[in-house]
């Protein structure tokens, strides 16, 4: 019984982490219809920057996290302005090729700079170990992940639903032409959103070093997970990807614990079945474009 609850807890933490990693992709892929397979590269960038700051320069872990966000966001903004924006109107094939090229470059570059072994970020001692709550083992680090990611999710929901920027973004996504006719600076909104998504990925990358492992092949290994979150979750709201990540996280942790031999088999099968059953995602709306 307690092992079920512990696994559930770990799964939720894992799912929350996946959500923070992938929700930027939910916007670019789901809303802006841009196939960005290089999303994991931004997460990896954030993770490595945090690792260098904390391990090599002795920054405290909680100061490294915002820096991971900011640096990934800045890199994302620069790349968006320089490269990505030229490709919004291109075919999906071009977008796939371009982003796969970026992934290859990032993998080799990180391998060159940081070496190919897995890295860890030195955690403050307060985050290590676990404590018991009604007999359920709760890892401190995972609890922190849940808290941070939960706060972020609420914040995102608020921004999207309540702020002026949120309504601009929704308008720009629904119908870019009409939105720009109403005086919304659509490219700017997209650029800002893209950068923000990359920042979140960077933060997620920094948080995930402990849980998922961080090495140069991170973008390739987790690409499929991010894509699953977005395609299964659909793109109509932020709730869809959120639920999809929770499901994926719990299923993956449970799968690894109870049927370790099946490995990732379960997840891929479930993904294919869902995609066949509902091509627009579990929580998606019917495609209008």
């Amino acid at each position: 019984m307690t092992s079920i609850l512990t696994n559930l807890f770990d799964g939720v933490a894992y799912g929350m982490l996946l959500f923070v990693l992938a929700c930027g992709l939910a916007v670019t892929l789901g809303l802006m219809n841009f196939v960005n397979l290089a999303h994991g590269a931004f997460a990896m960038t954030g993770g490595y920057i945090c690792a260098v700051l904390v391990n090599k320069m002795g920054w405290p872990f909680f100061a490294g996290l915002p820096l991971a966000f900011i640096s990934a966001a800045v890199i994302g903004a620069v790349l968006e302005r320089l490269l990505y924006r030229h490709l919004y109107t291109r075919s999906h094939l071009d977008q796939v090729l371009f982003s796969v090229g970026l992934v290859f470059m990032s993998v080799a570059a990180v391998d060159y700079i940081m070496g190919s072994q897995r890295i860890f970020i030195n955690l403050p001692s307060a985050l290590e170990g676990q404590f018991d709550l009604f007999g359920v083992g709760i890892g401190r680090y995972r609890l922190m992940i849940i808290v941070i990611c939960g706060l972020l999710t609420g914040l995102l929901q608020l921004i999207l639903a309540r702020t002026r920027f949120g309504s601009r973004l929704r308008a720009a996504v629904d119908d870019p032409r009409a939105a720009s006719g109403l005086g919304i600076n659509v490219p700017q909104v997209f650029a800002f959103t893209f950068a923000f998504g990359c920042g979140l990925a960077g933060l997620g990358g920094a948080l995930s070093a402990e849980v998922l492992g961080l090495d140069p092949y991170f973008p390739l290994k987790f690409m499929i997970y991010f894509l699953i979150v977005v395609t299964v979750g659909g793109s109509s709201s932020i709730t869809g990807p959120f639920l999809a990540s929770l499901l994926l996280g719990i299923a993956d942790v449970a799968g690894k614990y109870y049927v370790p031999k099946m490995g990732p088999f379960v997840i891929y099968t479930v993904m294919i079945v869902i995609l066949i059953w509902r091509p627009n995602g579990l929580f998606g709306r019917a495609a209008t474009r």
């Binding site: 196939v35 090729l97 970026l102 091509p279």
Partner: protein, 343 residues
């Protein structure tokens, strides 16, 4: 009185063998005698070219973007490896065909999943299938040998006549002949009414179905054929290298394949073959510069190709040969830009 020639006239004219094509195949054969010490790399190029041709059939002609074409390559590779390893079918040519058919069955079954949904769903499903197979191969490591791969494959002589030698001479001619035969078949397919209907589907599925083309059935058919081709390429890989390991399913293989095809250009069958030559040369150059980090430069090439634009790039490359041909022959360019990229 001259009536304008109908579509069939143009299609037939397009389907005729051009001088450039004959030159291409003669040159390919000549390579065998010009570089007798490079059989292994040339075999690799031919195999990759065949694999890319398979992707061209679905991507260039039917417009299906696939991120998991390595699935069929892998099935073909393992099938050929297992057949040879357990001595079920020792004759390479028959084993090759059986391996191709195995991949074809998988292609037929999965095609129903792939034709549903738009580009994005297709990407995900093809990628998912390849990953699934990789996970399966890892799971059943007692059959597939796991990460070590199949070991101790010994190939019997082809048709009981030509034994594989250690310099790869037999392997090269074997691959070249198989590729050429399959190329002839592919050429016939894409210039048939069936191939023309595929192009109609690629350009606009809705209109294609409006003029009475059974879109889904055609897509299933070409996807199945392409799977057969990829399976053959995979089987050739196993037979000429006596090797099959988990990385036949790897995502990098599918991604590299796309690069190969994009370098060569889609939608005219030669793209895969030309792309394979250029890709391997690039790889060779990059790995002499940076043995460990050549992937970076491959990635850079991809990014540049996309940013410059595929159509524009091919126009630049073809500018010189076309100029020469127009000057010498005094007629319009013989090497045309593939229509799909003329934008």
């Amino acid at each position: 009185m001259s009536t304008p020639p109908d579509v069939g006239f143009y299609a037939r004219q397009h389907a005729r063998w051009h001088v450039a094509e004959i030159v291409f195949w003669v040159a390919a054969l000549a390579c065998a005698f010009v570089f007798p010490s490079r059989y292994l790399i040339m075999t690799d190029i031919v195999r990759l070219g065949l694999f890319a041709m398979s992707l061209d059939l679905i991507l260039g002609y039917a417009g299906i973007v696939s991120l998991g074409h390595a699935a069929f390559f892998g099935v073909g590779a393992y099938c050929a490896g297992l057949l040879a390893l357990h001595g079920i079918i020792t004759e390479p040519v028959i084993a090759l065909i059986v391996a191709g058919l195995a991949a074809m069955v998988l292609g037929f079954v999965t095609s129903f999943l792939v034709i549903r949904g738009a580009d994005l769903t297709r990407l995900m499903v093809t990628l998912g299938i390849a990953l699934l197979l990789e996970a399966l191969a890892e799971r059943f490591s007692d059959i597939t040998g796991g990460t070590d791969g199949l070991q101790g494959i010994e190939m019997q002589p082809i048709l009981k006549l030509f034994a594989f030698d250690m310099f790869g001479k037999t392997g090269f001619f074997y691959s070249l002949i198989v590729t050429f035969l399959l190329f002839l078949l592919a050429r016939r397919i894409v210039h048939s009414p069936f191939g023309l209907s595929l192009r109609a589907i690629r350009n606009n599925p809705l209109r294609a179905s409006a003029i009475g083309i059974p879109v889904n059935r055609r897509l299933v058919a070409i996807y199945t054929v392409a799977a057969f081709y990829a399976g053959i390429a995979g089987a050739l890989f196993t037979q000429t290298t006596a090797l099959a390991s988990l990385d036949v399913f790897a995502f990098e293989r599918s991604a590299d394949l796309m690069l190969v095809l994009v370098i060569g250009g889609t939608g005219y069958l030669y793209g895969g073959l030309i792309g394979a030559v250029v890709f391997r040369m690039l790889q060779e150059v990059f790995s002499t510069i940076t043995p460990q980090y050549w992937q970076f430069w491959i990635g850079a090439v991809l990014v540049v190709i996309v940013l410059v634009g595929r159509g524009r790039l091919h126009r630049w490359v073809l500018f010189l040969p076309n100029l020469v041909i127009t000057r010498l022959a005094g007629r319009r360019a013989a090497v045309a830009i593939p229509e799909s990229e003329a934008s």
